[in-house]
Structure formats: structure tokens, C-alpha cells
């Protein structure tokens, strides 16, 4: 269950909660504040709301800020304010007060003027830090981009059963004689590593059944960052290597006694990257043979590694730190590196130490040297020079090279590896690595910013080369390169994370449903739904159209056999029940992410739907409006209601007071429009034995009223609403740039919005524009 807003407003101070209760996006206005309004405000309002609407402790301590329109404010003040005597101001005076409040501090434009948003001086966020170190060290090994997925390459080898028998040796068993025949190898790509060969051969008569070996090779793709547990089961000999080229096995079960053994081992992986994987297997006269490889990725139950995460192509190992960074400040709604702490410093140090050991163990590989080569020290120095240049995202000064490379090397003259450790430590602890904006404002910084915005990491070689040539300070130079970076898996991983944040999937974990009411809803179903949603998001975002509208309007769902059963659909005939297929629904039943069962389940209670959770999500994330947390919490307790009531009736009763309705007049109609979906997101026409009523009336910030009848109406409204579109753009901007959008100019969002609409709501184009704009911010072409 996901407590998005488990509390409801309950406060005797009706008026207090209303002005504060709804905060919306800005509408710039050029009108000047009126002086009559100011005098009235000072006389009647300032004692509770403060001289400039900043709030007064023990009276009304929330600042007056939001974006209801002037008309709404005026009506509201006329009716309710001042709280102790609402009649003291007439309609005209109320309008004057509203005009003053609006233009002085309430509206976004007024707030922008009073306290302009600024770009914070920040360190790398935890994620940026970890990814940068991974890619920094990975830059010493060329990695071909992998596009092909679908399984691992399997090589099956045994003595060729069809070859003639060699002459029998003295005392030789028939079996040994057979196995002296020439070897034969068969190759194929295996999408799923789960085999039970029983007593037989893996290839019928083409291979021998009593003794054979198999080796699977390729790459495994980590969709998310975190700890992965690998589970290898076999009664035969098995070995597993993951992300290690120094031949360190993750699992070694080469010796076995014919009894099935389960081996488990864990490894940290960074999301959005492929890692080398190799699984070796052999059978030697055992009665039977089987092998299966499963994993338990972060946020998912144990499962066979899906074919989409396996590639028959090889990749190179990557350094992944095991340090646990404390969470970054997310109070602004996105992570920012605005503070440092002891825990953070320790994690930085641990990462640096692990990286130092890792590089020291691969010295010759990275410096292309040999242990006894006469120019080894020289080559290592060059390697460290590259490492520092990539870490600082710019060339080093003489002094910097001295401190970060030469000095550490000379401090341990007899132990090159130790000198390298000291140097790597110094580079990765340096403020020049940790604070990207310390760099001079030139082409190098443009590259660094683009890397951070798109990948949360260092820029690629292509960008760095362009920076070195001074070809990155103009829009025309940068944009095509950004375009090239967008389809990289690193961008995909970051955009994935944005969508998870936007759709609150970080909270959609451990969804449990009442087993009596939802006997088929299991942990596996929840994991399948996550996959289903990811497949949908990827399909939409990474198609050429990359159309935001499709996210909200699409009528199909990705389902596998298990989900199809639960959601009452049939998979296309002849398809594999374990893989996901696109299944069409009617426009009334499904409309994009709004009705994806994962979201509908995440925003629901143990036993029932939750119009409040769903409504809050739609208000904030789809319609771009903001809600302030309720002042007093009320728990929804199902057992307190008449058992014959529908969910809609219960919520209506619970939130009927005026002060509740200040927010719930927005929340409830949106939530009620989704009442055709139960707590597992299944379509329904009845709730508690009564027909579902999904119709509602919704009033916008500007005071316009719309009639909704189901989620498609909400989706269409969201697409027609500028505020909703800007809300989406702003969230994407923050997730990518991790700075306030307005700090790049108060018109930034409007500009992005107009471009977004002009480009047919193309999300990739929006990402490219955000990256280009912010990377070039404040960069002057070099004076010639």
C-alpha cells in the first residue's frame, strides 16, 4: 500500500486551510499591485498572514502562495475573510485585497520577482558520483554498444556420438572408450537459462548423454542500480562469472555429488549497463543433469533472468562501488547535492579506496604496459593523466598534475601500484571531481553538463573530443551531439528513473492485496506489472514519435500469461505465456498510464480502491497542480462505515466538511473517475453490489468546470491543459537537471512548452532541448 496522502484535512479553521490548501502553477501577470488593496490587507489580514504574506507563528504560519486566479481569490476572501468577521470587506474591497495579494506575493510571478530562483552551487548527487566513477574507470576499456538481446550464447560440447569408436585400451571401460572420440560442439542462443536434461543429452542424438559440457557467454543488463543476487541450481558441476575479467568467480560449484545444490551470491551493479556473464556447466556420468540461473534484482522477486536482459554479445567489466551513500536532499521534489555530511564523506572515501584498489589491480591493462616493461612508470603516469582529465572533465593545470599524479607517485617510489592508489584517491576525493561547476565556463563545462543532464555521469569521449577542439560552445555544435547521446542506454536508464519518480513507482513496491478478495494477486503479479509498465514506457518514449499523448491515451497493455488471466484478456494465439505481448482493450477500459494496473494497484488500499490516493496522484502529477499536505491527519478506516456503502460514498462522507473540500473538491472528482478499477486495477462495473458511478465535475485553477466520465476524459483534459503540460515538463526538467527550471529564466518552462507542442509532444526532443539549453547556460563563445 502506498501512502501518498493517507491523511485528510480536519481543522476547525476553515479559512486557514483554504488559501493555503491549494498551490498551483504560475500565471505571469504584468498588472501593478493596487494601493487600496495594500491598505486593506495591512489592516485586516497582516496580523495573521504577515506583512508580506509570509505567515505568522501561532496564527497562520504558512506563506500565502499558490496560483488560484484573482477571481477565485476575490470570491474566497469575500466569503470567508477575515475569518472572525467575513462581512467586514465587501465584494469590491475583497477584489482589491485579492489583486494586491496576487501581485505582491501570491502568484508565481510575484514570487519570482521577490526571490528569483537561482542555480545552486552543488556537488555531484550520490547517483552522479557512483555512475561517474563507474564510467570513469570503464573508459579505459573500449565497450562496443550492445543492441542485440534475447539470450546467451550456449556452446554444447561432448564426444561426437557419431564418430567411430577408437580402439579399446587395456582395462578401459566402455564409457571411457566412447569419450575418447573426437569432440563435437553445437552452438545456439538460449533465451532462458533453465534446463532439465534428465538422464539424456541436451541435443538428442547429436551429443553424448553421459558426459557433456556447456558454456554460456554474453552479457547481462542491469535495469536498475543496486544489489543483484544470482541463484544457480544444479546437481552437476557449475561455475559463474559476473562482471569480472580477473577470473574471480561469483559462484564455484565445480565439484558436486549428483545432489541438487542451490548456490547464491550477490553483486552490486549500476543500472543502465551491460555486464559480462559466463556460466560453465559439465556433467560427468551423473545420473541426471539440470541447471538453472535465476536472479533477484533490486525491487523484484526472484525470477529467471528475462531474455530482454541477456545478450549473446560480450561486454567489458565495469567497476561498481559498494559504498552506501546517504540519500540526497529531495525536499525540492528532486535530488540535489546541496549538503555534505560525515556519512557522505565516508561514502566518497570508500568509493575512492575501492576504485584505487581496482585500478591498481589492473594497472597494466589500463596503461597498456607490462610488469617488467622499462617504460611502465611513464605509461602509468600517462594513464593517470587521462584518468584525472576525465574525472575533472577538463585538462589539468601543471599544479594540479603535480598534486594529483606526480606527488602521489613519487611518495611511494618502490611500489608503483601503491603510488597509483594514492593518486586515484586524491583524484576522486578532489573538489574538481566532486563539484562540476568549479570548472571555467568553456566548452569543457558544456560537455560536463550534458553528461550530467543526460546520463548523471561523465560525458562520453565524443563530447570530450569536441570540447578539446573548442567546438562545443554554440548551440549548432552541441545539439547534434546531444541528439547522438539520447538513445544511449545511459539516457534510457535515467529517463526510466524519471518515469518511476513521476509515476511514484519508487513507492509501488511490496504491493500486497487481501488474499481473500484478490487470491491471484501475488508478488510475482506486482513484478510482472512493473515489467509491463516499463515495456510500455520504453515503447512510447523510445519510438520515433516519442509522443507524450500516447502515454496518456494508449489503449493496449503489455501482458504475459499470468497477467492476462488476472485482467481477463487473451494473449494472441500461439504466443509464449512467459513473454509479454501487446493486448488491445477498448478506449473506455484503458487509457495509457492512467489506467495501468500497477498504478491503480499502487494507489489503492489492501482490500479496496482508493479514490483519494488516485485523485492526489492525478492532481499533482498528471494535471500539474500542487497540493499542500493536510494540516491534520485522518486515517481512512473502512470498518467505520456502513458496510453497504460504495467506496465513492465512503469518501464523499469522509471528506464532506467544507475545509476538507478545499482540496478534496479537486481530488475526489479525479479519484471517482477511476472507480471502475478495483484494488488490483481490474475493470469493474459494480462496487459492493452497486453500479459504479464514475462521473464527476472538476473545476480547474482558473475556475472552469469540466464534466468527467471515466479516466479518458481526464487524459484528454490533461492533454488540452497548458498547466498540465507544463507540470510534466517541469518534473522532467528537475529530474534531468536537478536545478530549479526558473533559475534558467522565468520564461524557461514557457519556452520549453511551446517547443514541446510544436514538436508534436515529442519527449526525446524535449530532453534534447532541456540538455542543450542548460548545458550552454552562461557560456560565452571564446573571445578571439
Amino acid at each position: 500500500m502506498i501512502p501518498i496522502c493517507p491523511r485528510l484535512i480536519s481543522s476547525p479553521a476553515i479559512g486557514r486551510s483554504v488559501l493555503a490548501g491549494v498551490l498551483l502553477f504560475a500565471w505571469p501577470s504584468l498588472a501593478a499591485p493596487g494601493t487600496e488593496g495594500k491598505a486593506l490587507y495591512d489592516q485586516h489580514c497582516a496580523s495573521c498572514h504577515g506583512k508580506s504574506g509570509e505567515g505568522v507563528a501561532d496564527e497562520y504560519d504558512e506563506p500565502l502562495a499558490g496560483d488560484r486566479g484573482i477571481d477565485w481569490l476575490s470570491r474566497y476572501i469575500d466569503r470567508n475573510m477575515p475569518e472572525d468577521d467575513p462581512d467586514v470587506l465587501d465584494a469590491k474591497q475583497s477584489a482589491q485585497v485579492a489583486d494586491y495579494v496576487y501581485h505582491s506575493f501570491y502568484s508565481q510571478a510575484a514570487r519570482d520577482k521577490a526571490r528569483p530562483a537561482k542555480i545552486d552551487f552543488v556537488r555531484l548527487t550520490a547517483q552522479q558520483h557512483q555512475r561517474s566513477v563507474t564510467d570513469l574507470i570503464g573508459s579505459f576499456r573500449y565497450r562496443e554498444p550492445i543492441v542485440e538481446t534475447g539470450g546467451l550464447k550456449g556452446r554444447y560440447t561432448s564426444a561426437d556420438p557419431k564418430a567411430p569408436l577408437p580402439e579399446k585400451k587395456k582395462d578401459e571401460s566402455d564409457e571411457d572408450q566412447r569419450h575418447r572420440r573426437p569432440k563435437k560442439t553445437i552452438e545456439r542462443v538460449d533465451p532462458r537459462l533453465s534446463f532439465d536434461f534428465g538422464p539424456g543429452s541436451p541435443m538428442g542424438e547429436d551429443l553424448d548423454a553421459s558426459r557433456f559440457q556447456i558454456e554460456w557467454n554474453g552479457s547481462v543488463y542491469a535495469e536498475e542500480s543496486g544489489t543483484y543476487e544470482f541463484i544457480l541450481k544444479s546437481e552437476n558441476g557449475v561455475r559463474l562469472w559476473v562482471n569480472n575479467e580477473l577470473d574471480q568467480k561469483l559462484i564455484d560449484g565445480w565439484v558436486s555429488s549428483g545432489i541438487k545444490v542451490e548456490h547464491r551470491a550477490t553483486i552490486h551493479l549500476q543500472g543502465g549497463r551491460f555486464y559480462p556473464i559466463r556460466l560453465a556447466f559439465f556433467k560427468f556420468n551423473d545420473k541426471s543433469a539440470s541447471v538453472s540461473l535465476e536472479w533477484k534484482p533490486p525491487h523484484r522477486p526472484q525470477e529467471f533472468i528475462p531474455a530482454r536482459c541477456l545478450s549473446p554479445r560480450n561486454s567489458k567489466e565495469l567497476f561498481v562501488s559498494t559504498a552506501a551513500f546517504p540519500p540526497d536532499d529531495a525536499s525540492a521534489g528532486y535530488e540535489r547535492g546541496v549538503s555534505v555530511s560525515r556519512g557522505w564523506d565516508d561514502a566518497v572515501t570508500q568509493t575512492a579506496m575501492e576504485a584505487a584498489d581496482y585500478v591498481a589491480a589492473r594497472l597494466d591493462r589500463y596503461s597498456e604496459s607490462k610488469p617488467d616493461a622499462p617504460d611502465r612508470a611513464e605509461k602509468v603516469k600517462v594513464m593517470l593523466g587521462k584518468l584525472a582529465e576525465r574525472a575533472f572533465r577538463r585538462p589539468l593545470s601543471e599544479v594540479e598534475a603535480q598534486i594529483h599524479i606526480h606527488q602521489p607517485l613519487t611518495s611511494s617510489p618502490n611500489d608503483l601500484a601503491d603510488g597509483v592508489r594514492r593518486s586515484v584517491l586524491m583524484i576522486l576525493k578532489s573538489p574538481h571531481f566532486i563539484y562540476p561547476e568549479l570548472s571555467p565556463k568553456n566548452d569543457w563545462l558544456v560537455a560536463a553538463r550534458a553528461g550530467l543532464v543526460l546520463w548523471d555521469s561523465l560525458p562520453g569521449e565524443d563530447l570530450q573530443r569536441a570540447a578539446a577542439r573548442g567546438e562545443l560552445h554554440a548551440r549548432g555544435q552541441l545539439e547534434p551531439r546531444v541528439r547522438g547521446m539520447v538513445k544511449n542506454p545511459r539516457t534510457k536508464a535515467k529517463v526510466h528513473e524519471f518515469f518511476h519518480h513521476w509515476l511514484h513507482l519508487d513507492k509501488a513496491e511490496d504491493i500486497a492485496r487481501d488474499p481473500k478478495a484478490y487470491p491471484d494477486f501475488s508478488e510475482e503479479v506486482a513484478a510482472d506489472l512493473r515489467t509491463s509498465l516499463n515495456l510500455f514506457l520504453d515503447e512510447v518514449v523510445w519510438s520515433d514519435a516519442s509522443d507524450y499523448r500516447q502515454l496518456l491515451l494508449e489503449e493496449h497493455l503489455y501482458l504475459n500469461g499470468r497477467l492476462a488471466k488476472l485482467y481477463g484478456a487473451d494473449l494472441p494465439a500461439g504466443t509464449d505465456a512467459s513473454s509479454f505481448q501487446k493486448v488491445a482493450f477498448t478506449p473506455e477500459q484503458r487509457t495509457g498510464v492512467l489506467t495501468h494496473p500497477l498504478l491503480l494497484s499502487a494507489f489503492a488500499y489492501y482490500k479496496s480502491s482508493s479514490p483519494i490516493h488516485r485523485g492526489v496522484f492525478l492532481t499533482r502529477n498528471v494535471l500539474g497542480r500542487t497540493l499542500r499536505p493536510p494540516i491534520t491527519a485522518i486515517q481512512f478506516m473502512d470498518e467505520k462505515f456502513d458496510p453497504h456503502m460504495t467506496m465513492r460514498e465512503k469518501v464523499t462522507q469522509l471528506t464532506k466538511s467544507d475545509n476538507c473540500m478545499a482540496c478534496h473538491s479537486i481530488i475526489n472528482p479525479l479519484g471517482f473517475a477511476l472507480e471502475n478499477y478495483d484494488a488490483a486495477g481490474r475493470f469493474r462495473t459494480q462496487d459492493n453490489g452497486k453500479p459504479v458511478d464514475a462521473s464527476s465535475e472538476y473545476t480547474t485553477a482558473e475556475g472552469q468546470t469540466f464534466r468527467f466520465n471515466g479516466p479518458r476524459d481526464i487524459a484528454e483534459h490533461a492533454l488540452s491543459s497548458r498547466q498540465a503540460r507544463i507540470g510534466f515538463i517541469e518534473q522532467l526538467f528537475h529530474a534531468l537537471v536537478k536545478q530549479p527550471a526558473r533559475a534558467y529564466g522565468t520564461d524557461t518552462l514557457d519556452r520549453l512548452h511551446d517547443l514541446f507542442v510544436k514538436k508534436n509532444y515529442n519527449i526525446q526532443e524535449l530532453i534534447i532541448e532541456i540538455t542543450t539549453t542548460t548545458a550552454l547556460h552562461g557560456i560565452q563563445p571564446p573571445s578571439t
Binding site: W254, F282, N285, D345, D346
Partner: protein, 436 residues
């Protein structure tokens, strides 16, 4: 000595970012000196005429053959045991059982690893004696140490199979030896080394932070100021940790990262022995093993002028004098490693007690075979060096095909762990071997 050198000399422990094992305090000063046990392994049998004295006997009647000559200085602390057999039969070839039953004294499971004869085998069916002793010592607060036991390897092949493992925590649970001195150093003193490296960069880092800070407009300096405070805090932590804790014996200085390959074997051996003695001197363990290569080990001792692999040579017939000579040289080299270990232990006084560490350490040098070319599991060499209660040194004792399980019982008793059975019960019925 300036402050920073002081930090380097007394490397601290226990900063929170490397969460090692909680540093177990040294056991309360015991009345009895600590007793230690080290098993040392070399492979492929020995050369009997160059190894075994012609007659059993003690004192002047105990004369060392060429292979034992490097240990001449320690003759009065040597005890050789002849006539002990590895009587474990069942699955596995001679080398597999020779290795995996050497300390476990119990059969191997049937399995999928085919050797040079017999049936394919799996892992041993029970724990090795060193691990049994270790568990008992760790259960007692007066003998508990940070690691309990440490398993060292020198050029052990990077494979896990019945030929490469002799230490078992339990049935089906072989323990891999630490083969790389850098890995050992990290395990024993890793936190310390990391601290040293960090200490070495703190001044430069603080300097850089200060320069960078002054380049920023004043309103953007707060974050870097906090950062600089953290760096100063770390320096202080390291100083305090250094003041609070120090090792009795300094970690040995290693000569950089040495690849674990054949030709580095002499240097690797010395490093591993230095680390082993250092760990024992700092009372990190009371039980240890030192495994040179593995059963069927094929070291090419080119530093002795021998180009052939050890195992290949061991198959040559007795009559091939040249090979016997080379095998003798190889075994002399192993004896030299044992002598180096003994000499290191003998150079360190036992803290709080009379004598040296060697007086309270029993080293047992053994092998998976009695003789290489016959793959005999009889007359397995057991050479005891050092001191332990109940063992009379400066002699060779000869037995008649006594099961080696009985020796396990004797060694356990000498470590203060009396046992009635270890490994296969039938082979223990006569109780511990008397070695006095």
C-alpha cells in the same frame, strides 16, 4: 618525527566507512601461554631414502637425511613420525583422497570429478581437524581470536576441487586458502593500509579545498567550508584512532603487487610466511595452514635449475637418478620454507612468558602421498617442529601403518581440545597416538 609521520607509523583502525570485523580485544592475559598449530603442505610425496632417517631414535641416535638438512639448527625441536597411513578408501583417486582426507580423515562423497583412477569424487564428508580445533578455541573466551584460523596458500591453482582443498569447515564445505599476499594484507590490515593512504593525501586535499573555496563568490562558499570541516574531522578521527589502538607487531612491508605466478613462488612464499607470523604475533589466530601448490602440484622450480613440473617428475621411477635428485632438491626447498617459518617464530619472544613463539607453536609439515611414483598413502610424512604439550621432540618414532586419524586426536589434545573421534570412527578406536 612530525605529526603525519607519526600517523603513518601508528596506523589507526576503525573508521566507520570500512566496516571490518569488530576488533576483538586481545584475550585476557592467560596464565598458560597460547598454544598454536600450523599445518604445512607440500605435494607429490617425498623421496624416502633422502627423507627418512635409517632408524627410529632420539637425541644423538636421531640423524637427519639431506631433505631435512635445512632444519639442522632446529633438530632438538623436531619430531618425525614414520609409519602413519591415510587409510581412507572409497571414491576418488590417490591424490584426491590424499589431499581431501589428509586433515578430514573421512571419505569423499561420490561426485563428478574424475581423477587418474578409481571413481569420480566430490568433497569430503566432514570437517578438517584444524577447523574442529579452531571452533573449540573460538567458543572459549580465553582462547578466542579475531579470525580463529587463517588459511594461506602459495601458488595454489585457481580451481576448487578435491585436489586443491584440504581444509574443510564441514562436510561439503571446503575452505579456500588466501593465495595472494595483497589479499591477505587487505584482510589482516586492510583498514590500516587504507588509513595510511588517506592520511597521505589529507594535507593536499585540504590545501586544494582552500584554494577552490577562495575562488568562489562568498555566497557559494558554505558547502565547501562544510566539506573542509569534514576533511579536518577525518584527520582528527584518524589521530584519535591511532592513539587508541596499535598492533603489537607492525604489519610487514610487502614489495608491491606481485603476480601470483610460478616464477614468483619463492617471493610469494616469503611474503605469505611473513604475513602468517605477523598475524600470529598479533594473536589474530591460533590455528593456521600453509599450503604449497596443491595435490598433483606442478610447480616448475626454475630458480633451482629445474625445468620440469614437480608432479611430472614425481612419476619417474626410482631408478632414474636424475629425477630423484631433482625431487630431493624440490623437497629441500620446501624444508627451507619450513626453516624460514621456524626462524621467524623463534625470533619473537612469547609476550608475557618465557621462550619464543616457536616454543608454543607446533608446525606439522605433511604431504598427500608417501611416495609419488607409487601413489602410496602409507608412510605419509609428518614432520613436527616447535613445541606442544605431550610431544617429545628431537626424535623419530616409527609406527606400523597407524591410521592418521589417531594423530589428529593427539594434535587436538595438544591444543587443549581432547577428542575421542575425528573423521572415520573405526579408525579412532585405539585413541590418540602417544608421541612422548
Amino acid at each position: 618525527m612530525n605529526r603525519r609521520e607519526l600517523l603513518r607509523t601508528f596506523p589507526p583502525l576503525a573508521l566507520p566507512f570500512v566496516t571490518g570485523l569488530p576488533s576483538l580485544r586481545a584475550a585476557p592475559a592467560a596464565k598458560k601461554p597460547p598454544q598454536r598449530l600450523i599445518f604445512m603442505f607440500s605435494p607429490n610425496g617425498i623421496v624416502p631414502p633422502q627423507f627418512w632417517p635409517d632408524q627410529p631414535g632420539s637425541g644423538d641416535a636421531f640423524a637427519l637425511k639431506p631433505i631435512l638438512q635445512p632444519l639442522a639448527a632446529y633438530k632438538n625441536r623436531l619430531l618425525m613420525l614414520k609409519g602413519i597411513s591415510n587409510k581412507i578408501r572409497g571414491d576418488g583417486d590417490g591424490h584426491q583422497r590424499g589431499m581431501s582426507c589428509l586433515l578430514t580423515g573421512i571419505e569423499l562423497y561420490a561426485g563428478n570429478i574424475m581423477g587418474g583412477g578409481g571413481q569420480p569424487a566430490g568433497w569430503a564428508k566432514g570437517p578438517s581437524i584444524d577447523q574442529v580445533i579452531k571452533e573449540k578455541l573460538q567458543a572459549d573466551p580465553t582462547t578466542r581470536t579475531r579470525f580463529g584460523s587463517l588459511e594461506f596458500g602459495v601458488n595454489v591453482p585457481d580451481r576448487a576441487d578435491p585436489w586443491t582443498r584440504w581444509v574443510y569447515a564441514a562436510a561439503n564445505k571446503p575452505v579456500a586458502p588466501m593465495n595472494d599476499p595483497a589479499q591477505v594484507l587487505a584482510r589482516l590490515y586492510g583498514q590500516t593500509r587504507g588509513r595510511e593512504h588517506i592520511t597521505s593525501i589529507l594535507d593536499d586535499l585540504s590545501g586544494e579545498l582552500a584554494r577552490v573555496r577562495s575562488s568562489l563568490p562568498p555566497e557559494e562558499r558554505a558547502l565547501l567550508e562544510e566539506h573542509a570541516t569534514l576533511v579536518r574531522g577525518m584527520e582528527k578521527d584518524i589521530q584519535e584512532a591511532a592513539a587508541a589502538r596499535d598492533f603489537r607487531h607492525k604489519p610487514p612491508a610487502l614489495e608491491g603487487n606481485l603476480a601470483v605466478d610460478n616464477d614468483n613462488m619463492p617471493r610469494l612464499s616469503k611474503m605469505q610466511i611473513d604475513l602468517l607470523v605477523s598475524a600470529l604475533a598479533n594473536d589474530m589466530a591460533r590455528v593456521a595452514s600453509l599450503q604449497f601448490t596443491a595435490s598433483v602440484g606442478g610447480a616448475k622450480m626454475r630458480w633451482l635449475g629445474i625445468q620440469e613440473g614437480h608432479h611430472d617428475l614425481s612419476h619417474d621411477p626410482d631408478l632414474k637418478a636424475e629425477s630423484q635428485e631433482k625431487l630431493t632438491k624440490i623437497n629441500v626447498w620446501f624444508a627451507e620454507q619450513l626453516a624460514y617459518l621456524a626462524q621467524k617464530l623463534d625470533a619473537i619472544p612469547e609476550p608475557g612468558h618465557s621462550g619464543t613463539m616457536l616454543d608454543h607453536t607446533l608446525i606439522v609439515w605433511t604431504n598427500e602421498l608417501g611416495k609419488g611414483n607409487s601413489h602410496s598413502l602409507d608412510d605419509i610424512p609428518f614432520v613436527c617442529l616447535g613445541g606442544a604439550p605431550g610431544l617429545k621432540m628431537n626424535q623419530m618414532l616409527a609406527f606400523q601403518e597407524e591410521p592418521h586419524n589417531r594423530l589428529h586426536l593427539t594434535l587436538a589434545a595438544a591444543m587443549g581440545v581432547p577428542l575421542k573421534i575425528h573423521g572415520k570412527p573405526e579408525l579412532c578406536s585405539a585413541g590418540p597416538l602417544a608421541l612422548s
